[in-house]
């Protein structure tokens, strides 16, 4: 690991300001992704700004009838919150399907949104990777890509975003709240928060330099049956191959997919077709897919997951 200086920030605005001022800064929250990557020297920050002591660890009701989740709320606490279990069960389910209990006790809401891809070549410094070293190429395109993306990909990168939590937040239409180094705040709809790889796969979100996530806002509850179904290579403690977050009720459904793209994948136009069945939904939701011989199985798998949640919800 490269040497770095370390500092505990006192306020969100101070954290953002310091991160912008100190070259090579990174925020550290739970550290479960950042430290992993620092040990491999894939991330080499010169300065760490510890954001664990900013008072952003509460879940509070909003005036609109929703919830505001502090960026430092641990994954365990978010999944176990009584209001989340009751009104946003898809979020509890998604969180509980991820990682292990030890990791969820440490991982935070903000850090989970910003965790980096699990593409095997991103982790392998001897191989080209446009995300790790912009312009170096993409070893995954002609390599082992069984678990990589089939939608929204580019010639530069076919990585997926590995978060389960983010897929549930997408189906719930969450909003990411931030503070910038100059003290201004803004709200970013989760649909726009993560970017597709395009020509710049190393730029993964809309966040600017030093911009700190302060929280995630959930709109008022929408009822329905909440399901998170995750297909993976073992029954526990594994990333998704394909997952679906669904809120379903007779005649309507909201559907977001994990494991298919560089961001949670949701196509609202496809949701309008639920009455016609899973094949109709899949045709629209997965239009323009680009598969490899190794990962083509993801599309029929995602369609079957769609059928299963529509059946659950008696749509």
């Amino acid at each position: 690991m490269k040497p770095f200086t370390y500092q505990r920030a006192a306020t969100p605005a101070e954290a953002a300001r310091v991160a912008a001022e100190m070259p090579g800064s990174r925020f550290i929250a739970g550290g479960t992704n950042l430290l992993d990557l620092m040990k491999l020297q894939i991330e080499t920050p010169g300065h760490l700004v510890d954001v664990n002591h900013l008072g952003l660890d509460r879940i509070e009701p909003t005036a609109e009838g929703g919830l505001r989740i502090g960026a430092m709320v641990r994954n365990t606490d978010l999944a176990a919150d009584k209001r989340v279990r009751r009104d946003y069960a898809v979020l509890s389910r998604a969180l509980l399907s991820g990682a292990s209990a030890q990791l969820r006790n440490k991982a935070t809401t903000g850090g989970n949104l910003l965790q980096r891809t699990r593409c095997p070549y991103f982790y392998e410094p001897s191989k080209p990777c446009n995300k790790r070293v912009p312009g170096s190429g993409c070893a995954a395109l002609g390599g082992f890509n069984r678990n990589l993306a089939v939608l929204g990909t580019s010639d530069k990168c076919i990585a997926t975003h590995p978060s389960d939590m983010a897929v549930a937040m997408r189906v719930l239409d969450a909003t990411v709240e931030t503070v910038s180094p100059d003290g201004t705040t803004r709200s970013i709809p989760i649909a726009d928060f993560h970017r597709l790889p395009g020509d710049t796969p190393h730029i993964e979100t809309q966040l600017g330099r030093g911009e700190l996530i302060t929280g995630v806002m959930l709109p008022a509850p929408i009822g329905g049956l909440h399901v998170y179904r995750k297909v993976r290579d073992r029954a526990s403690y594994a990333f998704a191959v394909v997952s679906i977050a669904a809120v379903v009720a007779p005649g309507r459904a909201r559907l977001a997919y994990g494991g298919l793209a560089h961001k949670p994948w949701r196509v609202e136009a496809a949701e309008a077709l639920v009455a016609d069945g899973a094949a109709a939904v899949a045709k629209t939701a997965f239009a323009g897919a680009r598969t490899t011989p190794e990962n083509a199985f993801k599309l029929p798998l995602a369609q079957r997951l769609t059928a299963s949640v529509l059946a659950d919800g008696k749509v």
């Binding site: 040497p3 200086t5 370390y6 505990r8 430290l35 176990a80 389910r93 509980l96 209990a101 990791l103």
Partner: protein, 204 residues
């Protein structure tokens, strides 16, 4: 543990640096002037400990290499195996994926604090009674994890296999899911579940 010191550290944004030379330190802006080492206070198994450490030292290495509490093990060093499981302020975490400096002021619990020969923690006794190990490398992590896991069930924290999120109950399936972060290369899993079952049922 001094709260005043910790507050001061938080408020002034005191920074620490690894291996910085005097000259580098002097040229840094005053608010972030880096002393070469981090000054860290931990309470470990109820005892106050003070350490001067390179900011890169993980909590696991601080415990093993600097406090010589070698019960916690390093299996993968990447959060994948659970051999390094300890509790921080009562909750289990992977100590390999956390920096010691981030835990200034925290209370750490390790296998050494659970029990010792002659007065074992019930979970330690149950692991012995059930042969819940072969080589024993994963065992301290398994035991720390299992003790904390039973508390999580008591606190009503749901898991992936909890059918009704609002009705958390103990079961062997729950144990298997909740202990999935602790890998046992010797595959002592059935005996580990049996040991935990005994402690849950008050038989150990």
């Amino acid at each position: 543990m001094s709260l005043t010191r910790r507050d001061a550290m938080i408020m002034s944004g005191v920074a620490v640096a690894a291996g910085a030379t005097g000259t580098e330190a002097e040229s840094a802006p005053a608010s972030t002037r880096p002393p070469p080492q981090a000054d860290i206070r931990l309470t470990v198994n109820g005892q106050a400990r003070r350490l001067q450490l390179d900011s890169r030292v993980s909590l696991l290495d601080a415990l093993r290499e600097h406090l010589h509490l070698t019960g916690s093990k390093k299996g993968c060093d990447h959060g994948q195996c659970g051999a390094c499981t300890v509790t921080v302020n009562g909750r289990r975490i992977n100590s390999c994926l956390s920096l010691a400096v981030m835990h200034d002021g925290d209370e750490i619990g390790t296998i050494e604090g659970l029990g010792r020969p002659g007065r074992l923690h019930p979970m330690q006794a149950a692991f012995i009674a059930h042969d819940g190990f072969q080589c024993g490398y994963c065992t301290p992590g398994q035991i720390c994890s299992a003790v904390a896991m039973l508390e999580e069930i008591k606190d009503g924290i749901p898991s992936h296999v909890t059918e009704d999120l609002n009705d958390v109950r103990y079961s062997a399936d729950e144990v298997r899911e909740r202990m999935s972060g602790n890998i046992c290369r010797c595959a002592a899993y059935p005996n580990i579940v049996a040991a935990i079952d005994d402690v849950h049922g008050g038989r150990a």
